[in-house]
Amino acid sequence: MIDTIYVEQSVRGHPRVRQILGRFPAARVIGCERYGEVFNPKAQNFRLQKHRPALILAEKFKNFVLPAPAGYGIGAMRNYYFSHLLNCLYDCRYCFLQGMYQSANYLLFVNYEDFHDEIRRLAAESPGEQTHFFSGYDCDSLALEPVSRFAESFLSLFRDLPDAWIELRTKSTQIRTLLAMQPVPNVVVAFSFTPEATAAAVEDKTPAPAKRLAAARRLQDRGWSVGLRFDPVIFQTDWQTQYRALFEQVFSQLEVARLHSVSLGAFRLPEAFFRRMSSLYPEERLFAGPLDSQQGMVSYRRELEQALLDFCRTEILKYVPGEKFFPCRT
């Protein structure tokens, strides 16, 4: 799976690095001074790197946890996100990471303990008040778990911080770590879904929605809090039928009363990201669709976007009470 690993000089001896290198005895291991010299150069192509992404093991020095963008949340007033990992095992054509980074290599910051300290500090700022931390902003939270052991490390932290919640955002079925531990009540495992045909078209390398659903069900059965993210909503000609079938499938297989939250999101990208993505994939139908650019953001044309969101909202609310539903995120 990974045949090239770059290791920053400063973390060569880090136990997490040694453990990861041990998993890939045949990989070429290349030393570098700072990750930026591998990750940031201009003469790189995200699309080509997606064929065989390398893993970069590095140390992060600042900005461990950042305030989440306005409108991003599932019920708390205090919302933060953090990125221990940049980039993803999967290859969703709508993913903004393709427009954001020059490189498709996985950049893993191995100094988890510094993220822990910052999360602890922020949680302690307002005792008694819920603070939400989002982990799947620049990656899929669980897809690389066998390598990163991220969940294993972070969930024990949250067990000791009852007012701090963490959302693991995923399309993955890598739930072994979670199944092996006692459920942590302030953890939400949030699975993203699009209809089967859409996933097959634009979510390359991801487990099929039915498999994600089975993983969600297993977690729910074990007592984990599960969330659902219908984000982004993607247009195809028979989208109503597809989404109606998806909702029916998902809500019939999960215990709705025990769902933590359900959210809905529009397909929206900063214009600069969209330009870069569509020049990487000029033949991509998704990018030739009924899109519009308004105030620096590309999205479906206003009436279509409204129709997509209204329809999905109405359908979801047939299954889910309003207080669990979070309609839109920026």
Binding site: E33, P41, A43, Q44, L48, H51, A201
Partner: protein, 284 residues
């Protein structure tokens, strides 16, 4: 500047530029690919055939950088061609004749580093290459020593993406067999011995380069001949024609109706695209 611009078309999958320092390194490649010497008055010895060029740069960083600039202009300033630097190198212990691909290139003088992205399955091991100004005889570090790779990486990455820019080096000297013993026929024999690896690498890179082949330009001429479009509208027209091509699966456009104004034409095209069913095909 090169005296003429040769616009030989690249085969499907991108043009391949070989850069070598020595005629002895060029010889096996010229013979394998049946390249022909470019006639005329070039600043470098250049061999070519459809989709491939080979430039003999001479030894050292400056010569290499110049040769790449010259080649790039000569072949029509293509973007995202494959660039391959083939040559011999030293290593403290690697067996003579063994071939390596560079995964990190360090300029010993300046300390600058490049990390060529290897996005294909290689048929040879990889190593760091240190580019030195004088032949290396100590082989102090565990890396390959050459005299061109850093200039090659720096210059070629101006014209192509790093994943398509690679160095393959064949070991010609080590602590057991010093650099001064090398003669041109042995250099040719070393490169000859690595032809299989060079061939595989070239094919793999060409395959990758094919993904970056831009879609052909849309033809606006029939439209601009019939209606007057402002500069802004021309851009809209191009965008709509591209959208039609992708969304319709490259179907032939129906004949436009009798419309008077360019604005109406754009609206007609937009309506036509909107009426197409949107089916996102399964990922390949």
């Amino acid at each position: 500047m090169p005296p003429s611009v040769n616009r030989m078309s690249g085969c499907n999958g991108g043009f391949v530029h070989f850069i070598v320092a020595l005629p002895a390194e060029a010889k096996p490649l010229v013979s394998h690919y049946r390249l022909k010497r470019r006639p005329g008055d070039d600043a470098f010895a250049i061999f070519e055939k459809e989709g491939i060029s080979l430039t003999v740069s001479g030894i050292g960083k400056a010569a290499t950088a110049n040769a790449i600039g010259y080649t790039q202009v000569l072949y029509g300033k293509r973007r995202n061609s494959v660039w391959l630097n083939i040559g011999v190198a030293g290593h403290h212990a690697a067996p003579l004749g063994s071939a390596w691909i560079g995964h990190k290139i360090t300029d010993a003088e300046t300390g600058r580093r490049w990390y060529p992205g290897i996005c294909f399955r290689t048929h040879c091991p990889s190593a760091e290459i240190r580019t030195v100004a004088q032949p290396e005889t100590e082989y102090a570090l565990d890396c390959l020593y050459d005299m061109e790779a850093s200039a090659f990486a720096e210059s070629a990455c101006r014209f192509s993406t790093g994943e398509l820019v690679h160095c393959i080096k064949v070991i010609s000297d080590n602590r057991e067999s010093v650099i001064w013993d090398i003669d041109p026929s042995r250099v040719s024999a070393y490169v000859e011995g690595a032809i299989g690896i060079i061939l595989h690498t070239k094919q793999a890179l060409r395959h990758l380069a094919a993904e970056l082949t831009p879609l052909p330009e849309v033809d606006t001429a029939p439209w601009t001949a019939r209606w007057h479009f402002t500069a802004q509208q021309r851009l809209q027209l191009e965008k709509l024609l591209r959208r039609w091509r992708v969304s319709s699966g490259d179907r032939v456009l129906p004949d436009p109706p009798n419309l008077e104004r360019s604005r109406q034409v754009l609206a007609w095209l937009d309506g036509l695209i909107a009426a197409l069913p949107v089916h996102l095909p399964p990922a390949p």
